[in-house]
Symmetry: C2
Subunit: 420 residues, 2 copies
Amino acid sequence: MIKTEMIVIGSEFVSGIAAEERSSLLARELSRRGCVVRWKSAVGDTQADIEKALLQAAGRASVIVMFGGLGTIQDSITRKALRRATGVRFVLHEKVLKSLEESPDDLNRPRPANRSGYALLPIHAEIFPNPSGPVPGFGLRWGGSHLIGLPGNADPIERILKESVDPYLSKQFKERSAPLQAVIRTTGLAESQVHPHLNDLTGVRNPVTLGLIPGWAGLDLCFQMAGRPSAESRERLASLLDQIRKRLGEAVYAEGNEDLESVVGRMLAASGLKLAVAESCTGGLIGHRLTDVPGSSAYLDRSVVCYSNRSKIELLGISPELLERHGAVSEPVAAALAEAVRSRSDADLGLAVSGIAGPGGGTPEKPVGLVFFALADRDGVRTSRERFRGERKTVKLEASQKALDLLRRHLIIRKGEKGF
Amino acid sequence: MIKTEMIVIGSEFVSGIAAEERSSLLARELSRRGCVVRWKSAVGDTQADIEKALLQAAGRASVIVMFGGLGTIQDSITRKALRRATGVRFVLHEKVLKSLEESPDDLNRPRPANRSGYALLPIHAEIFPNPSGPVPGFGLRWGGSHLIGLPGNADPIERILKESVDPYLSKQFKERSAPLQAVIRTTGLAESQVHPHLNDLTGVRNPVTLGLIPGWAGLDLCFQMAGRPSAESRERLASLLDQIRKRLGEAVYAEGNEDLESVVGRMLAASGLKLAVAESCTGGLIGHRLTDVPGSSAYLDRSVVCYSNRSKIELLGISPELLERHGAVSEPVAAALAEAVRSRSDADLGLAVSGIAGPGGGTPEKPVGLVFFALADRDGVRTSRERFRGERKTVKLEASQKALDLLRRHLIIRKGEKGF
């Protein structure tokens, strides 16, 4: 494992104006490559701070990855800080100059007067071409460490890593072993329900670190084995995961980064079953999540977002009397929606959601956050209800997760029965 | 403005397993309170690293905000690091102990054997009760700085800031002035198109820092005035924003944090017009975004996610011949979808999207990323097309943004005509 630090440059990241999703993704990708990020600094576009961050990291890390700051209008600041911190001479790299001249203007970046400034890079640096624009990255030996500069706009970041950073690292480090890590993702469990199952498996005498990360998608269990990966530690982690999977049972829906829509998509594709959805309070979120999965058109026929009563009547033939008697947010209406969307599309499965996302619309009997679910197949329909807490967006997210999870659990049973 | 640094504690943040959305939000909220975050460090659950991060920040910042690390199962590590870095004695705080005994078990957190450990906090610290659980935060004078510890699970983070951190800061700092900041959000503009409009407005002689942040939602222009806010700088920023608004015209859709769905929602609500949507490649995303806005049921009637050809025929009466002749991804089909969803729901506006999100399904004539848009009103239908680059999820996001933007621009014209 290679001790790695990241320096994210840009006032917008420090002040929270921009979210750090991309730097999180970069950290994850680096860790997968054996460059385990153990410290991350975000600093503004200030020469002194960038310089301090570089010097501070230099004493501690084998690899320092600088993200951003190379192509902004304040780019000279980062270059000045780099020059002062490293003491390395900057020269115009001919190859970069040439490609700058040859490349057409980037739609998303102006051709500044000093465009050639992008070619001003540390002497002896290895240049990493940027697939997303004219500002390249670089790799540089700096004392006992390696300094890698990556342009903030490289998208997808995986591409520059694969095409340039991987070959560079392979030349510099004979062996790169990623730490043994695993993530088990669960739905429907609270931390307090999980803890008793883990106490005897992790602990002081076990070289496993466990982190519990709760969120709207459920509770994620993150495991990391200490030390260099070995046959023994691999086996140990595998057997630990096995035991946890057994203990938590159906609550486990995925491992690693996989999300619930991908899992459900895989199961639907394997089963050959077709799905139709009727959404009220989730407003399209279930359809959106299902269609984020490539190939989802093979099993998703439609999702009817019937937000008004009128649309429930017109699009799915729900009877006005039923709506009148029970209200749109009710078990009978959820059941009718699931049955109607299934039978009208001749799909195998019909999934429906109706609830009160808030902040308005709640009553003592039907408070904000109350959501009814229904899942219909050719044999009938099953319903359930749940009360979610939190604001509108959270209610929608958690309701969509619950709905997809009902589908997943249904498909597990079907799989057992039909053996697809 | 108070020089502030943040220290985010938790391996999952450093290694990128967890995204840093919440720490970004915290940074934004702190900056709004005059505590301008200029350095952010994320460190793992390692005593030495936490200690180093604290000492490093102590020399530079007036306020140090530690986020997380207080309530995890590794909580003693953070406490040890704090004790060593500050040299402050830790004692059991009676008030916290009492509230721990009185509070019921947190659903999401077990009652550990050493639950009283949560009450072990620096002597003389001011305790910040945590609305989300038993682990409190604290504020502490440390040399010339103030150290604020906030539990990572406090949700919403705004609440503990308002209830505890604000009063604490007010006692310690007579004057807290947030820096003058502004964000202008645009669609349909590339950085290179914006630059010429800004060159004479910002620059060396102007005390304005400008950051351009491109993303799927468009290009955000972030302005920050240097120095202490004054009547003069306020006026200067206001006049700058005025000029930029004028120059960029309709491309400006919002200011600050507002998103496009909220802007469109506001316009729809004001106009009294009703909307129906037909989505193909966006799969429900447009409906999802529109319904993220509280009160959207007042103007959104339905969104028909007709993913299959069959669903386009059955739900919206699209003729099989039209689909056969032009293909589902075509201008005539997009137009037919918009007209059908509008007229069938008797809505004033019908918005439709049909495209190829990829990665499969592209042809030389209709490549991945090609999307057709149509907007129908009672007078007719207008169509447009755009080719998006990027992976499936990005195509969906950018297509949804473009669709909502067409709606926004249409509503601006309508507003001019009808004066609603």
